[in-house]
Amino acid sequence: MSSHEHGLPPKSSISRWFLTTNHKDVGILYIVTALFFLVFGGVLALLFRIELWEPGAQVLSELSYNQSVSAHGLLMVFWFISPFAFGFANYVVPLQMGAEDLAFPRLNALSYWLYLFSGLLFGVSFFQGSTFAGGWTMYAPLNVPAYIPDGALGATTAVLALVMFVASVTVSSVNFLTTMYRMRAEGLRMRDLPIFSVSILLTVWMMLFAFAALLAALMILSADHIIGTKYFVYQITQSGAVTRTVGNEAASLLWAHLFWFFGHPEVYIVFFPALGVMAETFQTFAGRRLVGRKWFILSMVLVALQSFMVWMHHMFLTNINLTIKTVFMATTIGISLPFDLMMFSLIYTLIKGKVRFKTPFLFTLGSVILFIVGGITGVFLGAVVLDYQFRGTYWVVAHFHYVMVGGATALFGGLYYWYPKMTGKMYDEFLGKVNFAMYFVGFNLLYFPMFVAWETPRRVFEYEAGLTVWHQIATIGGLLLGASFLVMFYNLFVSLWRGADAGDTPWEYATSAEWAVSSPPPMDNFPGLPSYRDGSLSFLSESAVAARLRGDGTASTDGGDPTADGGVATGTALDTATETHLETEDVEHADHASIWPFAVGLGAFLTMLGLSGVQQGTIVGTEYAALLGVGGVVTFGSLVAMTREPFHAPEAALAERFPYADVEKLKLGMWVFLASDVVLFGAFIGSHAFIRVAHGWREWHNLIPAEHVTMPGLINTYLLLTSSFLVVLAMVAAKKGSRRGTVLSLVGTLALGIGFLVNKALEWQHLFHVHSEAFPQGWDLSTNVASSTFYLTTGLHGAHVAVGLVICAYMTIRAWNGAYQGDPDAIEYFGLYWHFVDIVWLFLFPLFYIL
């Protein structure tokens, strides 16, 4: 075991890859795993391209075709493109910003394992009858069990795999945002971040809010599958003395709103890292700083904001009103303008520079060309009238592949660009160019004919015989595109042994900080504490850091040439870490190994697989019950073990932390998480409001029994408000060093929280068993949309309370043993969560009990 590996086995040992929490290792894991899912999704695509050689289903069965198309879309969008980009983000961003690792290394490893296991779970769904076959957009009502042929087991697993994937994304978003706001090298202002890091920062912001809406959609869909709620079912039949059918007018539109509120930002979540790679490589291979860099960044910020204002252009053919369609047509056309500016900036950078046509640049240049085609053809779809004609055709398929796969093209350029940094070896340039030629020709042979054959209906294997030749060209293109990856994999694999040594940087004019260290970089990344305070990158020795902390600005520095991408950094407010340990001292103790993230991922996988066996409230086999039990124990046990494990992830003594200098990193992480939870609950509450508006706001009361009264809600409001107050008192007592006061306040919180859940259980039990003329069979989750929204939304809130109580119980025991006295931070951070749960209830109470 190398002493430089900080407790980790060497890279040649398999156990290292299960234990590692280091950002560079996790980055490599992401990249390799994403490439596996590229092959998985790519093989499925080749299967249905072969099927499309002629009209009709000759090779695959009808259902197999539908599964292939749906799984291909889901795998490529979720399990390939974004995670591939985040492989680079993991590896490169901390290096570019001068951090030793991400803020929460174990959570970073957890993100990876949740990602891997979610993909494996999706793979398992193929073996449970059939996987989800209703298209990657999973439109309602084809996404609920009633409309899924051969049982919904595999489809449920696919939905749960997505839930797990979104959990991974959320953890990752919190981690990246905390890192990028708290751990930048001294003197590196936000505006000075290298352009790839800027693109990741904006991507993560979009992820934080967009994926929370998707999580709401997926949790609701899971509930429709597993416990039998009726959000996405059009007609709900209530059996009993008088059988009656209640309409759910909003079923399909609700899914479309939730999905596309996520789905359109997702396009930019996928594309922004590609833009970052384009800009980064254009600078390096043109030998010129990005022209109009400031405007390029401003355009990206604009797009990130606008991305949340265009989602209804995916719904022009639904019965949403014309006013809103017109508004969203305008916002959609508007979002193309910042992209125009970015494209001009990239092109002008080439004109002003001296271009060297290396493989990474060929891929990113190709990407720009493909994106321009994809962008222009997309403008047609943004116009309401044209969309009436184009929607559901191969025009859409061709357009979004030019955009999405066009973006992936830049990421392949990024793979060639950073390969020497990650491995220390150069790839074979000739094979790289062969790879690009095959890729680019194959890509255009595959997707361009789809514009010509645009009248082909999307996701359907039948098409007019006259279009056959175009489909055959596309299939040949697909095979060529697939073959190009064989060249890539061969090149990159063989170069690990045969490649020439890359040195610190093989790229002249590369200026960002990752090129200032060895290839691959050492575990600690830098030979000292990185600083840009003097205008270029330097590494501070231990004594220099100590001098800085004493306020002596003349401290000596060591080496390092590259400057920050954004130019010369000038003096800004300098922040010191809350705990002023010296970076150089802490490095000796920084931990990089933990098995628990892997264990939590495995536990979550088993739990989700077990959960897929629960259909409409009934468990379909004992093996699923066993999986659920074992998975639950493994997950909970691993989480506890992770909490108990001593793990030191120090912050640098000197860093730029604007605008969160006074917000400790754990607190900032909690606030970022809560911001995403606001959207999660917002989407649940929004779903309730939407269904109610569709039904008729005031007619809603007809769906609710008279026994559903205000008092249980009011009592629970009192209980929760009081518990919130007690958490505040616990914090005050801990600050004063009163162990007794701390314990008593936490015990009170615990008791009131339990009281809240007991009161809720009694209320639900009562409502389940009401016997009235309107509800002879009781009022349960499946009775109607009102009962579904009531139980699920307040249930989600109850689950948050339950999680809070587990944490509170743990803290109570620790407080009893003397913890937190004079150091109430942990209680305050728990309080942030608990008060948030309280705030949510303040809205659920009137919405579900009074109005």
């Binding site: 809010f209 509120f261 009103n321 606001v678 917002g682 508006v693 305050e828 303040l842 009137p846 109005l851």
Partner: protein, 89 residues
Amino acid sequence: MTRTKLYVGIYVVLFAFATVQALVEFAGFLESAYWEAFAAIMVLSAIKAVLVAAYYQHLRWEPRSVSYLVAGGLVAATALTGAAAFSIL
């Protein structure tokens, strides 16, 4: 301790507002003037939420950037709810 008195005062206000919300219904205002009662109840909830966030979660004493972070989530959720509901009016 002054801060503790402040926390107690806010707790009393929160408790009272929750009671008033229920009283609005018990008094029959939802039958006689539904939308006025609706507005009053939601405004009370909003005030309660702001009080909890500002004082119990200490947003008032945190850098403004933390409030902006939370506001970002709130704006996103409100935009989704508002625009979606408007689309079917």
